[in-house]
Amino acid sequence: MSLEGKVALVTGASRGIGKAIVLDLLAQGATVIGTGVTEGSAAAISDYIAEAGGKGRGIALEVTTDGACEGVVDAIEKEFGAIHILVNNAGITRDNLLMRLKDEDWDAIMDTNLKPVYKLSKAVIRGMMKARWGRIINIASVVGATGNAGQTNYAAAKAALFGFTKSLAKEIGSRGVTVNAVAPGFIDTDMTRGLPDEHKAKLLENITLGRLGEPREIADAVGFLASDRASYITGQTLHVNGGMYMN
């Protein structure tokens, strides 16, 4: 229970990878606040946190609303104290060939997958710097490193996280705050369940371990980076993809 007494914020926590991350951090003893887009999803997050016997709750956050990220951090700090661990997990896809991509699709990805990482990180680092301890973990994607036809917007936003991660790691490393990214490969979630079967079959051919990953397998990597066992790791991207891409 190495994260006893620590407060963690996980965005996009209602299902999939985000939910698995919340459960991992709870199991390590952290108080975890998970965000979902609606009040309903926030309530569902509160329920599964209580069911797991953990401390914390769900909170509604629409990351694209002006001032919402800052407001949520403020509210959490008032209720639970300073945030020690931030996991930027919330993300969406708006896939299309570039020639068919609309400005709205491009903007939606940048506004949801990239800008909140900047906003939330900025809002939490004050507390982390004061505590001389902090963890920021950004959930990127294998396609940020490999590229993927039909995902110029998504891949661009995910690749941006690598540069953000390294730069912020250099800025605040001297204050005991580490910043890392985890880049999942193809994980069995609602996001990948929407892919056509023939597309999935083709993907599997490229995965060394021959199967999709489980959300828990990403959460294990995040839980490790959040813990004191990863105290000397910063500015890194940990690829968790079954050998689909070898860095």
């Binding site: 004050r126 710097m129 004061k130 800025e171 605040i172 001297s174 204050r175």
Partner: protein, 79 residues
């Protein structure tokens, strides 16, 4: 009750890890007291806490010496 000058100097010494005797009114945080850019950000954070105020970024950028910090606090807070 210490005056503003003493309180500012105490915070500067604590934040930058220098003896209080080195903190002169004319000392520049960066040039004389060895602060880097992150130190100056933290210093402003510490001043905000000590004097229970918010110092806007555009003002914070202009505070580069001990005297400027004292002047800013005196002018804007008068506590």
């Amino acid at each position: 009750m210490e005056n503003i000058e003493q309180r500012v100097k105490k915070i500067v010494a604590e934040q930058l890890g220098v003896p209080e005797t080195d903190v002169k009114n004319e000392s520049s945080f960066v040039n004389d007291l060895g602060a880097d850019s992150l130190d100056t950000v933290e210093l402003v954070m510490a001043l905000e806490e000590e004097f229970e105020c918010e110092i806007p970024d555009e003002d914070a950028e202009k505070i580069t010496t001990v005297q400027q910090a004292i002047d800013y606090v005196s002018a804007n807070l008068g506590k």
